[in-house]
């Protein structure tokens, strides 16, 4: 007796979350059945393996049919074939577009092209995520990218509108799309210690402050591309390291302010010029595409690593960067040369402080290098896996 056909169709489509997860994880029916058996479901329900097999097959078939709709989530809401309660629809979409940290870390900043797709087997072996699941995630990235690529308006809103994702997930996708568009290098060994969350945090700040959309939200602009003019302006910061007097003045201002507050004060004092030069050079180079791509690598090399070698504690880095950007205000020469606009509202609130990052940027207002600094700060801060980092970087609306 062999089963030729075995189906179950409910007026309300049955969705088993556990099976859905297995399906999303790319397990074959046989593997999924084995996993379910292991979960002890047979003992709990008194069912037989055959029943489980048929149930799993059935769910897989349903998911397979739903997949086409999930590619364009608004369709799922309007289609008539599957009667699914709204909460379940949301769950289906959310889970379908969810991704693995490990996987996204591998493809972040890479071009979402066929070439990359070919490398998925390697990623699959490396991360232990099934190839199927890798493909789904990659295709999701690519699909979202394609849809919002040419679209005007807020990136996050666009993603939410066209894919009906939750706020958090939409932000993550915005980060992925942003990275993919600007092709930031994230795969270097030096950057391995950074998590996707770290990059997503940076991406969000950059979208808000560095892009065309950030300059004037009224304009029909895109959030994806960096504001070239702004990058051009950054060149002017060179004066901070090129002008010897200015450099000294800056240093003394920072040192005076931080004296006694830093545990690594002497190292800081000794290294100030190097650090400052490093930071400013990174910023000044951003006019070239190649250098934009290497932004994170450069930051780590020029700033994070020196600090790391001197064993700066996290709080010290925070103080330093804070002061570093704040002191620029009082630089006469700088104010003259740059017209003062860049540093005008530089009232830096660090994400670690009581203010949430969001409010920090409201205060910051117009674009400024301080974000840049914050950028460094945030990257640097993650390198120390100290108990405090999870406290401030994992703000609830980011993860």
């Amino acid at each position: 007796m062999t089963s030729e056909l075995d189906i179950f169709v409910g007026n309300t489509t049955l969705i088993d979350e556990d099976v859905y997860r297995l399906w999303l994880d790319g397990y074959s029916v046989t593997d999924a059945v084995a996993l379910r058996v292991r979960s002890g479901i047979l003992e709990q329900t008194g069912a037989t393996a055959a029943v489980l097999q048929s149930d799993t097959m059935d769910h897989y078939r349903t998911f397979h049919m739903l997949e086409r709709l999930l590619h364009a989530p608004p369709k799922l809401l309007h289609q008539l074939i599957f009667q699914i309660p709204p909460s379940r629809q949301a769950l289906l979409i959310e889970r379908y577009y969810a991704f693995d940290e490990a996987f996204v870390r591998e493809v972040l900043g890479k071009k979402l092209s066929k070439g990359t797709k070919k490398d998925l087997d390697d990623i699959s072996t490396k991360t232990g995520i099934t190839l199927k699941s890798c493909r789904r995630q990659f295709d999701n990235f690519k699909r979202v990218f394609k849809v919002v690529e040419e679209m005007r308006g807020s990136l996050v809103d666009n993603i939410q509108q066209h894919f009906l994702l939750s706020d958090r997930l939409a932000r993550d996708y915005a980060a992925i799309v942003f990275f993919a568009n600007n092709r930031f290098e994230t795969g270097k060994k030096k950057l391995q210690y950074l998590s996707f969350g770290d990059f997503a945090f940076c991406a969000e700040l950059m979208i808000q402050n560095w892009t065309l959309g950030a300059v004037d939200s009224q304009m029909d602009d895109m959030d994806m591309d960096l504001d070239k003019e702004f990058l051009q302006d950054l060149k002017e910061l060179k004066v901070l390291v090129a002008d010897k007097d200015l450099l000294d003045l800056h240093k003394s201002l920072v040192c005076t302010a931080l004296r006694g507050k830093l545990g690594v004060f002497s190292e800081m004092e000794a290294n100030f010029k190097n650090l400052s030069r490093g930071l400013v050079n990174v910023a000044a180079k951003l006019t070239h595409n190649k250098d934009v791509r290497d932004l994170f690598v450069d930051l780590v090399e020029k700033f994070v690593e020196p600090c790391r070698s001197d064993h700066w504690p996290l709080s010290d880095v925070r103080f330093f960067l804070n002061q570093y950007s704040a002191s620029v205000h009082s630089l006469d020469g700088f104010r003259l040369e740059c017209g003062g606009t860049i540093w005008a509202h530089c009232n830096l609130h660090l994400p670690g402080s009581s203010n949430s990052p969001a409010s920090a940027f409201q205060v910051a207002g117009t674009t400024s290098v301080h974000h840049h600094a914050q950028q460094f700060f945030c990257i640097f801060s993650r390198y120390r896996v100290s108990p405090c980092w999870s406290g401030w970087s994992r703000t609830p609306d980011l993860r």
């Binding site: 030729e4 189906i7 309007h78 074939i81």
Partner: protein
């Protein structure tokens, strides 16, 4: 020109890409009704075209309005080549033709293509302006309402129940016409769909005419079926019960009109019979002595039948020259093994007490006939006035005469209803059924389908005579079915013989005359169990006792019926689904030889099915079956029998005896041991079942019932082996009471298998109940979550093991596994009950068995088991908790994970929360009429708020039941009767047979829902999948499937809402939820 049909094509969405180059479509629409066609403009380059057409107006006869479907075709415009069809929508405009139903059809319809399935949706508005036509000779029957529901629809009152209406129309099947060789599969499928749509329209119109003739205004229990006879044609036939219905002004007041003025009471019983006693002497022909003489020669004598005056045999029942005549040879020795009565030509599957009254009669009940020439064995079912005097007194006799005369005006006193207004059913006799094997021949003249008509007339006559034999003048719960394999066709009909209260059958003038007297008799709530036949004149040997409830009247020990459990019946414990499954191999043969072989097998199958049912019933410790449905399916090389019923313990009937096993060779020690082991197992099972179904009847002092002494000689003998218990033929005595046991003799391995199979039926997991009736006896605290589903399984038998036993085992496993699978899938709904479990078996090919199940799972509240109505306080509390859940929708969804990990807790302690948190139920609850308060998804979309995201598709519930738990049906919108064909030439690509059929059934559901929503409804009740014919050819990568579904589109309002908005128009609520789909762009 009595009607103007107006159609407007608004828009389309999600159309498929028809132009590969641009990835877009240039779509336009053709609207066709009858021979008139209109076209919209071409909407260039869009997958979401906005046609916004003018109103297309068709001026048509109302006859056409009833027959023709509106046909909407969506096409892709192509400048250079022929336009490509995207798909079609057929809209049955019948619901617009009667005043109380829908006024407009408006909504999104899936665009369906027989090759590609659903391809996008189209928004259509349809209206009808109907002019009254008072022409008496008109051919149309607009205004007659149709209901699939087999009870009086909830918001109506039955004034008169007129009776049986039937009709059939015949045509050539387009699939078998010569033109089919040159046209595409798509064209052929569409021709077929259109033809069937046309035929069912015509059929409905004709039935409507008959109803108008009877002066009714509605058809209830309308059942329409297709017989795909292949080469010989296509038959569409329908049966129903004509009624005069009154709409209840207030939905709450559903009271039978039984307030007879007391003065009329004095006039009884002489006034109310319009046809005084013309027939009273007829049926009383005292042939009663003959009924006991079961010698074959006598019972076959035609003389006896001639004395049966009120059978009114029409010439039709005379042997028919064209049809193949199949006679069961009455004296065939092969039939006599152990059950001489098998030769009897009529089947009285009824309350069969299996007491031997005669040495040669072992099991009394099964008589079966395949052909009509021998109808009759119990011609003289003496139920006249003479015998009636015995128990009911003159009153009963009078009642009989009166009802009889009311019924005898009709050719067939049949009712397709299964549930009745209170007081309608007086007595129930038992199941009557008839089958006939026919050879199909080409239908030569489709306009005069005499052959088919005659076939059914024969069967109905037989049913009628069986009912008479049981002392009943009517048949209720009547249904007809066919099974076709190549050119052989089995026609089956079955129903429950019953005595009815004439009140509902006659005109309102005499309404309520017998009321008071009747009430006296019927108020005991056990009336329907009392035997309608004369105890001295019993049509078959039954084992009677005094009713355990009233102690006045006699009842049989077991009662089988095809109807639902009457609402006023007293039931102890809960019910359960009981199935008998059987396979019989048969040699492949041609034509007549084949038909003969089948008809030879049929009686055996009936007998075995019945035995199985009986055994299983005893094993469950129950004494009555409701909703019995026996399906015999014929295949190339086998016959399948599947009987489903719901077993219950009726308080009025005696406690069933146990089952005893007797060995054939009593001297073998180890054998003995084995037997006693088995016996113990059986006893354990019975005890366990009694506990499981909470059957603990009150102990009754033995004196009342009779002598408590168990008399071994009075055990009934059953099953193979010439019963050696040829001892005493006592008069029917009532002395042995409940100690009577059922004896199974184990004399060969076959019997062993049977006993084993009895014990292998696994009870459903705790928290689950199942039944095939409308509701589960013993559960009345339903909560509102329902999940209707269809499950299909096909297994391939390996040709090596084709023995009857292996076959039986395979079939048994198939059904059991299917049930297990259902329990597993629906585990998140626990505690719940599968209601209206409807199994259909078909044998599409040599080694394939296909089982289709449609049922609905309804949750119930375990902790309020005995509470029928909740106090307002409780209700509001419940509502509050529901609201909370809705607000917490998403969090709950997440936390249901944890519940999933232990989905089968033996007992759920918390009442509302526990049952509703887990998975589906919570989700379903959100989706009520109140538009599933969008709070749940609001979490996700509060920022985006795209214009389309908030308006989801309106929810349409589907259920095979006639009601929706926790809700009130406020309006019936019309009948849904749809037929779809789906074909594929890329089976593998669509996920194999399972993927193909899964998608198709989902699409069928979607189309039904869309039609209901367009009518302004939010549910389908009495939904039934009447046909699901699946054919595959994996080698060619092809498959084809035909599905026919029907149901009643309704508007319902949640009871909780009803309280709140009782003053408001209830329908607005729903309409808004349904129209919201149209607002979207």
């Amino acid at each position: 020109m009595p009607g103007k049909l107006k159609v407007k094509i608004v828009a389309g969405r999600h159309l498929p890409v028809m132009d590969r180059a641009s990835d877009l479509t240039d779509a336009f629409v053709e609207v066709k009704f009858g021979n008139t066609t209109f076209k919209t403009d071409v909407y260039l380059k869009s997958l979401n075209p906005q046609w916004n057409s003018e109103w297309f107006k068709f001026e048509v006869d109302d006859e056409d309005l009833q027959d023709e479907p509106l046909q909407i075709t969506v096409l892709d415009h192509d400048t250079y080549s022929a336009n490509d069809a995207i798909g079609k929508v057929y809209i049955d405009i019948d619901p617009l033709l009667y005043s109380e139903a829908a006024t407009v059809i408006s909504g999104w319809f899936p665009i369906y293509d027989t090759i590609h399935g659903i391809r996008g949706e189209i928004n259509v508005v349809v209206k009808v302006d109907l002019f009254n036509d008072l022409n008496r000779f008109r051919q149309s029957s607009c205004g007659v309402k149709f209901f699939c529901t087999t009870s009086i629809p909830k918001c109506y009152r039955a004034v008169i129940i007129h009776g049986f209406v039937e009709e059939l129309v015949v045509n050539e099947d387009p699939e078998y016409q010569w033109i089919d060789r040159i046209r595409t599969p798509r064209a052929s499928n569409e021709a077929r769909q259109r033809l069937i749509s046309l035929m069912s329209g015509e059929l409905q119109r004709k039935i409507g005419l008959k109803v108008l003739e009877m002066r009714g205004n509605a058809v209830v229990g309308y059942l329409q079926c297709f017989d795909l006879e292949g080469e010989s044609g296509l038959v569409v036939r329908a049966i129903g019960t004509a009624c005069t219905l009154d709409k209840l002004s207030s939905p709450a007041a559903f009271l039978p009109a039984c307030n007879s003025p007391s003065k009329e009471m004095k006039e009884i019983p002489f006034n109310e019979d319009p046809n005084p006693n013309t027939h009273s002497s007829g049926p009383s022909t005292p042939l009663k002595n003959q009924t006991y003489s079961f010698s074959p020669s006598k019972s076959y004598s035609r003389q006896s039948s001639s004395s049966d005056t009120d059978l009114s045999l029409t010439p039709k029942t005379a042997p028919y020259p064209q049809g193949p005549r199949i006679y069961l040879c009455p004296s065939s020795p092969s039939l006599s093994c152990g059950s001489l009565h098998l030769k009897k030509s009529c089947l009285l599957l009824s309350e069969s007490s299996l007491t031997p009254h005669h040495s040669s009669l072992v099991s009394p009940v099964l008589r079966k006939s395949v052909s009509f020439s021998e109808e009759l064995f119990l011609a003289a079912s003496g139920m006249g006035s003479g015998s009636a005097g015995k128990e009911g007194g003159p009153f009963k006799a009078l009642l009989r005469q009166q009802t009889q005369s009311a019924l005898e005006q009709r050719e067939f006193p049949f009712f397709t209803l299964t549930a009745f207004p209170p007081g309608f059913l007086v007595h129930v006799g038992g199941v009557v059924s008839a089958r006939s094997v026919k050879l199909l021949d080409r239908i030569h003249n489709p306009d005069e389908p005499e052959t088919r008509d005659a076939w059914w007339a024969e069967i109905r006559q037989e049913i009628k005579s069986h009912a008479k034999a049981l002392g009943c003048h009517a048949v209720v719960g009547y249904s007809e079915s066919t099974s076709i394999c190549e050119e052989v066709c089995i026609l089956s009909a079955s129903g429950t013989a019953a005595v009815l209260n004439p009140r509902f059958l006659q005109d309102g003038t005499v309404e309520g005359c017998l009321e008071q007297r009747l009430e006296e008799n019927l108020s005991t709530r056990c009336g329907f169990c009392h035997i309608p036949y004369d105890e001295l004149n019993m049509p078959f040997p039954a084992h009677l006792t005094y009713c355990y409830n009233c102690r006045k009247q006699k009842v049989p020990d077991v009662l089988f019926t095809t109807i639902d459990l009457p609402t006023d019946a007293t039931v102890i414990g809960k019910g359960c689904l009981i199935q008998a499954r059987l396979c019989r191999l048969k040699k492949k043969a041609q034509a007549e030889a084949n038909a003969t072989a089948i008809s030879n097998l049929l009686p055996f199958m009936e007998y075995e099915v019945h035995t199985q049912l009986m055994n299983k019933l005893k094993l469950k410790g129950m004494n009555a079956l409701f909703g019995l449905r026996i399906q015999i399916t014929v295949g190339e090389n086998m016959l399948m029998g599947l009987a489903s019923a719901t077993g219950v313990y009726l308080a009025a009937l005696p406690t069933p005896g146990g089952i005893q096993i007797a060995g054939k060779t009593p001297n073998d020690g180890s054998y003995e041991q084995h037997i006693s082991h088995m016996q113990k197992k059986i006893n354990d099972t019975i005890a366990k079942n009694k506990e499981l179904y909470e059957i603990n009847p009150p102990e009754i002092s033995e004196e009342i019932i009779g002598s408590p002494i168990p008399e071994p000689r009075q055990r009934s003998r059953l099953l193979r082996s010439q019963s050696e218990s040829s001892d005493e033929v006592t008069e029917l005595d009532l002395s042995h009471g409940k100690k009577d046991a059922f004896v199974l003799e184990i004399d060969d391995t076959d019997a062993m298998e049977d006993v084993h199979s009895l014990l292998t039926d696994v009870p459903p997991p705790s928290g689950f109940y199942s039944c095939n009736t409308e509701i589960m006896p013993g559960i009345n605290n339903w909560t509102s979550e329902i999940q209707m589903f269809t499950s299909v399984r096909v297994i391939r038998l390996s040709s090596l093991n084709l023995t009857n036993q292996a076959l039986n085992k395979n079939f048994n496993d198939l059904c059991e596994n299917l049930l297990k699978s259902l329990y597993f899938k629906l585990r998140s709904m626990i505690p719940c009950c599968l209601c209206h479990v409807n199994f259909t078996v078909s044998l599409p090919e040599d080694e394939l068995i296909q089982v289709t199940v449609t049922a609905v799972a309804i949750t119930f509240d375990k902790n309020q088991a005995l509470q029928t109505t909740k106090t307002p306080v409780e209700k509001s509390l419940q509502r509050a908790s529901t609201d909370n859940e809705e607000l917490l929708q998403f969090p709950l969804e997440l936390c249901s994970d944890s519940l999933h990990s232990h989905p089968f807790p033996p007992v759920k302690e918390h009442l509302e929360s526990a049952s509703s948190n887990s998975g589906i139920p919570a989700a379903q609850r959100a989706v009520t009429v109140e538009k599933a308060s969008p709070v749940g998804d609001g979490n996700f979309r509060n920022r985006s708020a795209p214009p389309c995201a908030n308006s989801t598709v309106g929810v349409v519930k589907m259920t095979p039941l006639s009601f929706i738990p926790g809700a009130k049906i406020t309006k019936y919108l019309g009948i849904i009767n749809m037929f779809f064909i789906r074909e594929t030439t890329s089976l593998r690509e669509e996920g194999g047979v399972s993927g193909f059929l899964h998608a198709f059934i989902a699409e069928v559901f979607a189309m039904v829902r869309a039609h209901v929503a367009a009518l302004g409804g939010n549910a389908v009740v009495s939904y039934i999948m009447k046909q699901c014919v699946f054919m595959e050819n994996p080698n060619k990568n092809q498959a084809q499937c035909l599905i026919n579904v029907s149901g009643d589109a309704v508007v319902f309002v949640r009871e909780s809402d009803l309280e709140v908005v009782s003053s408001q128009q209830p329908t607005t609520n729903c309409q808004s939820s349904c129209t919201e789909g149209e607002v979207t762009t």
